[in-house]
Symmetry: C2
Subunit: 196 residues, 2 copies
DNA sequence: GGACGCATGTAATAGGTTACATGATTAC
DNA sequence: GTAATCATGTAACCTATTACATGCGTCC
């Protein structure tokens, strides 16, 4: 028995507060969980595995009007395992971006359809960028310079958020570049237009 | 029988030239395949599946000094399938970044060990950025403005390379930010130093 | 009446990694 | 000699997605 990466993701959230499997599923649902995603069907068995290893425990909360729930708490052993893991070297991240894979062969497709694809994506990521920025701004307003202290409990959250902002900003800029390319007037098109 | 995303990745490379499974494994090996990765154990069966679907075919090349090899060619049907796929909407990309997951809880770890981790990563991504930039520069020198034509056979390659550059540049900037945070003088540390 | 949120689970399948397996040639 | 490159494959295992399953309360 060992802890999977998903297990550490769950421990990471549980280190801040008590949560149910349902809560965790919500946190790891796209596009909110912007550095790790998982479905509830993976989360429930993983929580059970963490419990068997003594890294979390739960208490059942009986609710009159809603289904009963299991509120999970990280144990001392869980916190120790997480603390050890965070500074261990990472494996080089596996890049799997379907959109970039399509882009690699985009010259084969219809330019107008391609432009439609990237326009949709631009909108999605512009919205995401705005959301991240708002969240960062509200954190900054509430916490101020504490966020910049690498021992503050909110430091990791703020650091990942900054990375999310940088990532989305870069993405948006790239969409704008490719859309400009796709809609730039082509000599051939111009000729056809002139004579048809 | 349907074509997996990996299948389209293989078709994408085969659209440009004939390749063996071994060649494809090399192209999809980290960190070269920066938008899709796969091992040879996944590639060989996938090529066979594409062949059964009539999207690729191969010819055996007998080599006197080296092992025989299968040189794969994309078929007309394969090219059509690829062309159709490139402009189809993408599923929202699943983000799974172990490093960011660690960052989320980094305040729990030792700041010096954390700094070592990010210093390593900074070096790796600085090198990757430089490599992408050199590749882009050499492409630009050879092909010039053709690269900016979305119908040019090199357009997709150039577009993904630009994205790679943007991505790595953003990453490097973020590493610098977090390292600055981790090594910034803390009042508490200063006090301890003064009195110990 | 139907969709959505809360809440937890299992089963079947697909996708991906690691390890096993073989064997010649070339470079250090 | 020994490690790396070329070259192709299979088997076992782990990880992740989709689908199946249940049931109450609230909102429109």
């Amino acid at each position: 028995m060992r802890v999977s990466t998903l297990g550490y993701a769950l421990l990471g959230f549980l280190a801040a507060r008590k949560l149910t499997g349902y809560d965790l599923a919500r946190l790891l649902r796209e596009p909110l969980g912007f550095f790790w995603t998982a479905r509830h069907s993976q989360i429930y068995p993983e929580l059970e595995s963490l419990r068997r290893q003594g890294l979390v425990r739960f208490q059942v909360i009986v609710q009159p009007t809603r289904p009963d729930k299991k509120l999970y708490t990280i144990t001392r052993a869980g916190r120790a395992a997480l603390r050890k893991w965070v500074t261990e070297p990472v494996k080089s991240p596996v890049q799997r971006d379907e959109e970039l894979l399509k882009t690699f062969s985009i010259q084969l497709g219809d330019p107008e359809e391609a432009a439609a694809l990237y326009t949709d994506q631009l909108r999605i990521h512009r919205d995401l960028l705005q959301r991240h920025r708002r969240l960062a701004a509200s954190l900054e307003r509430l916490q101020g310079k504490t966020l910049l202290d690498p021992r503050s409990p909110q430091f990791g959250n703020y650091a990942t958020l900054r990375r999310g902002i940088g990532y989305e900003r870069e993405r948006v800029a790239w969409y704008r570049w490719i859309l400009a390319r796709l809609s730039a007037p082509k000599p051939r098109t111009a000729k056809i237009r002139r004579y048809v």
